[in-house]
Symmetry: D2
Subunit: 270 residues, 4 copies
């Protein structure tokens, strides 16, 4: 079977350009966005059309993609999807959400013979726009194989990492790493400024060695310019760390640094 | 003036290969090591000769390099150096030590018309062996210009970052960054193992994006194999963080994550 | 109206003796426990009788007390209570649970003209047995006035602290304080032992001053005997801190120490 | 031998009233203060006279008391004391300082047949004024027995806790406990305010139970009034925690909460 019809639900910062790449790649794209204006704007920019409801948007789809906010949003949108999505189709969720939700929705979808893939992304807004996202996926192997070429429209690298929820768990590992990196970098820059160093110059030197990180290469200058706007959405980061801490509570891991960083973000949010 | 005679004091894990690169580069090298056996071994491997005392080792030197343990060691060795080092020479300290010490020793040396450069390194044992160290320097600009070509025998990149102490302060920034990166990575791997993920595979995927770091690229596999041997000397790391925390106390910066990581190392040391 | 009939749901470590005090105080007590054996044991020890279901237990009640496990437990038991509890009655929840749940259940109960009081307790098993509990309550003022004399059967001090949820919020403050106190005490004892001090003697001296706490007076000796069994149920403490951290996320407070202590308990749980 | 002549060095917030109690108890008191004006004021308030130098102040003393700032101050004042203090006398140091210093000074003093007692205090300015301090002492047993009745002029409770340094180590335990208590209390109050509770009322209730502490009883109201002035000298507290963290580094204990609280104080200091 060749995939023809795809739907994209949620045209936010991430979803809008992702859906655009699908259209550019030649798929027949139906989009849906809760706030209608964004869907209309999208239709003016890309080939494809907008549906008035989720149910209408997915009624003919082979694959449905979604990128909304949090667990509650995913659950609510999925309920609407399941009203009309044909048996045999696949639902791919790009939202960063809990692993538990992924396991739950895989079960629910299975009852209608629909495959569910959790597929959170990293790469930020720039990655979505340039079609250079990293996609971490969980779920059935053959279902993933079917969606992979389509996902590659906007991904530099997409990989299945295990059963349902594995994509979300991998994204949690990603965010835990970032929490440590960004906080270490923030403290180093704060320290350097207090010490009267030329931090730009120091970063140039130390980024050649064992202290190097993607964040240092790409964010240190921004952070120096305005130390408290961390160059990413603090609200999303807190949501993500909250999901990771919740999962850690369940699987018995100790995440002291992550818990502490999460509390710093509480201060930053104010 | 062309530099001919150089001395190297402290043939430890770092100093031994560094002094070797100087010999290989054609300098006339005199080495000194407290424990004589190491100096003898060095003389068998490289062209150069060993002196019985620090005073003897530096009596004819244009430049003296030293790489010993901590502040106390540097202070004690420097006192011996100043007994015989000729006026006009330069003393380069590659030890990771405090910025205060560097400022103090620059003053002391100046009284004998000797330039002092603090020049801690990063790159580890491998960097020392391959001559690929990064050198962060502080001190007088022309003194640094004089020693730079010699340092380049074992450095991939050496840079002066400001007045006396600036090299040490830059190294502190380096270690603060590493503290956050390594702890975040350790927590992510611990979490991934508790979650039952194939961590190698996840690391391969996420190292393509915003969670990437030198530590992830070079240490994650080792850490997975034996999570609590961090692939570097915990004792050195604690010494370095202690120096940074002490300096932070002085310059009024807040290093909560660094302080916490330092305490974890206390547990690891046991 | 004079209160005659009271029901007690959940005869655990806390509920069993609390219900006993009600019987001893002369109230007509009907108890219910999911595991029947405990209810039978209770009936042999106290005047009162056991019901086979929640619905049966509360069908004639003026006041229903409940002390179960967590939010989910409270929600499930309340649903059963509302099947038969007469209009005009009051439901008092002694479980440590979330403030949100209290607000939600107050609304639900109000639809059947039933008052809901959140009333978590402190004082532990000993307090329950000796009738010396502290009760922190939230909810309607006149409803609280009605139940107060009955609660006094097992409370040294019971107080309403505001609208629905206020009891739970006060209990969270209580647990946050305890988290800091116990962790500080644990670190001090650990430090003292490493320093080779006679910790019992030191505690006797410092408990006379600004370092004094109920925990020091009552728990230090136990902690010294076996430092890692903290003399209270670590699982309950983690649940309570989790509730507090969740609420903090909602109300925008930063609880760094609490978050850190919660992570230590993660280690202790292993 | 009956003690007649005592000297008090350092008439700061603590020393001034302590020396006053000695005078009121009938001892012949000679005081010294670096800033002369304070010594003069003291002489106008109490019976006793002021000396112009440390050496003069202690030349006839049986016991010398000192309460100055930090390790460096104690070392410098002690050097002056040893110029004239007669053999057979005792030097009691009430400064909060390191245990290492106490061990070092006991040795130095012993060479002149002078006993050295480390005797840091708790109880704050109020305790000093009311003569209700707690004194934690280390050093020789018979030397302590000799000074105890004199110390009781201003102490509610004074106790020897072991050899030289033990008083300082006990004081560190005291400060570690306080660090946890105060931070827990601060977070609880912050949380309560964000939650819209009447915190005064909640504190009244929870101070009856397991969350009680001297700090809660005596400082909560002040902290509520002005959350960031902690009712004690943050600078002293940081000095004390720094001493404890340094000692922990030496004796191999892990003080994560203490390290974190110390960093918060860094923020408060700004
Ligand atoms: N932004 C980033 O850098 C990254 C974000 N992510 C994750 O991707 C997800 C989306 O992020 P982003 O695009 O930035 O978010 P936006 O807030 O920009 O977009 C969210 C989208 O979801 C829709 N939506 C939310 N809730 C519902 C609902 N209940 N029913 C229907 N539609 C809903 C919104 O509709 P409407 O327009 O009507 O509000 C909007 O289209 C999040 O989980 C985020 O954590 C992952 C990596 C990077
Ligand atoms: N190892 C690493 O990966 C890195 C280390 N560093 C820093 O470099 C410095 C040296 O480290 P490393 O080479 O690993 O250490 P080693 O312990 O291997 O070597 C230390 C050297 O210093 C000498 N030494 C120490 N104290 C004295 C003293 N008081 N008088 C005379 N000689 C003394 C030792 O002599 P002896 O042989 O007699 O003991 C030895 O030659 C440290 O400051 C460390 O933090 C920086 C980057 C990486
Ligand atoms: N304040 C408090 O609540 C408590 C304090 N402590 C501890 O007690 C000690 C004293 O505290 P506090 O009285 O509050 O401090 P103050 O700053 O009020 O007083 C310090 C005293 O020491 C003198 N002094 C300091 N350095 C020297 C020096 N190098 N040579 C000679 N004299 C010196 C000062 O002299 P000058 O007047 O000339 O400056 C002054 O008399 C500290 O170690 C503190 O940590 C312990 C418990 C409670």
């Amino acid at each position: 079977m060749t995939v023809q019809n795809v739907s994209f639900l949620g045209l936010g910062v991430m979803g809008y350009p992702m859906a655009g790449h699908l259209a550019n790649a030649g798929y027949t794209v139906t989009v849906y966005n809760r706030t209608t204006a964004k869907a209309q704007a999208w239709c003016e920019e890309y080939a494809g059309h907008a549906a008035a409801t989720v149910a209408e948007a997915v009624a003919q789809a082979d694959i449905v993609f979604m990128c909304v906010g949090n667990d509650d949003d995913v659950r609510s949108v999925t309920a609407q999807v399941l009203q009309t999505l044909p048996s045999g189709a696949t639902l791919v969720d790009h939202t960063t959400a809990s692993a538990e939700l992924a396991r739950e929705l895989e079960q629910t979808c299975a009852q209608q013979n629909i495959a569910f893939i959790d597929a959170p992304v990293s790469g930020g807004q720039a990655g979505a726009q340039n079609g250079q996202l990293t996609v971490m996926a969980g779920g059935d192997e053959s279902a993933f194989a079917k969606v992979l070429p389509v996902i590659n429209s906007y991904a530099r690298h997409a990989q299945r990492l295990g059963p349902a929820g594995s994509g979300q768990l991998a994204k949690m590992m990603n965010q835990i790493c970032i929490a440590g990196i960004v906080q270490g970098l923030a403290e180093a820059l704060h320290f350097g400024q207090q010490a009267g160093l030329d931090c730009e110059q120091v970063i140039q030197v130390i980024s050649k060695g064992a202290a190097q990180s993607w964040q240092m290469d790409n964010r240190a200058t921004t952070m120096l310019a305005n130390q408290y706007d961390f160059g990413f959405a603090v609200d999303w980061m807190r949501k993500d760390l909250s999901i990771a801490l919740e999962e850690a509570r369940r699987n018995g891991s100790t995440l002291a640094l992550t818990a502490l960083v999460d509390q710093y973000y509480a201060d930053v949010q104010k």
